[in-house]
């Protein structure tokens, strides 16, 4: 029997889960293996802009809620193009409470973070339009 606890078990026994961020999907907020996230157990339904930790198969994902539906959530990573539909409350095991970006501590309840959350979601179409244009220009330049 493995002695390693699951994240669900850690959240249940310790009341929090602390981890180093892995991946690029929440850039520019979190960088791969640089930042620290503090996750608390979920209580009740989540709100738009909350960042849940949820499970898809064997994988754990930390992305942002961009729309709350009656029976599920629409979720997207800040650095991701595509939305994820149909994420249910049952899949969500915790929610981002606070974090360290490098060595600077921040809480999701802070004004600065809340402004960032609104802006990053609102700016998504423009960011991806700019990336697409940049990609097209880059390809055209390579052809010449």
């Amino acid at each position: 029997m493995s002695g390693k606890k699951t994240i669900e078990e850690i959240l249940s026994s310790d009341g929090k889960y602390v981890s180093t961020t892995v991946g690029f999907s929440m850039k520019p907020l979190f960088h791969d293996r640089r930042d620290t996230i503090i996750i608390l157990p979920k209580s009740g339904r989540l709100k738009k802009y909350d960042v849940p930790l949820y499970r898809v198969g064997e994988s754990y994902i930390l992305h942002r809620i961009i729309k709350v539906l009656p029976d599920s959530y629409v979720i997207r990573g800040d650095n991701c193009k595509d939305k994820e539909f149909g994420i249910s409350d049952e899949q969500i095991i915790g929610v981002l409470h606070s974090f360290y970006r490098k060595d600077k501590y921040g809480e999701v309840s802070s004004l600065g973070y809340r402004v960032y959350s609104v802006l990053i979601v609102a700016a998504h179409p423009f960011i991806w339009a700019c990336r697409r244009v940049r990609s097209c220009v880059s390809r055209l330049l390579k052809r010449k």
Binding site: K16, V18, S19, T20, R33, T36, Y100
Partner: protein, 88 residues
């Protein structure tokens, strides 16, 4: 002595936790909780203090003798060395 590259102390909801970051997080998957004294010593080491300096600070902070503080700091440092969080 110094803290190995890639291990950081985080204050999380009144607890002190050491977790890996960067390359260290690829090989060390977990975290260790430190009590107040251990966290104090960790931060002193991170700040580049020597053992006598750590013992003096510990003695002043917790109102204990320098001898007792040196003993406690030594124990903690030995433990951190054994666990692989420090290097000489």
């Amino acid at each position: 002595m110094k803290i190995k590259n890639g291990f950081v102390l985080r204050r999380v909801l009144d607890e002190a936790i050491v977790i890996p970051s960067g390359e260290a997080s690829k090989s060390f998957n977990g975290m260790i909780k430190l009590n107040d004294t251990a966290a104090f010593i960790w931060e002193a080491i991170a700040g580049g203090k020597s053992l006598p300096e750590i013992a003096k600070s510990l003695s002043e902070e917790y109102g204990i003798s320098v001898e007792k503080a040196t003993e406690d700091a030594n124990k903690m440092i030995e433990k951190l060395l054994t666990e692989g969080f420090l290097e000489k």
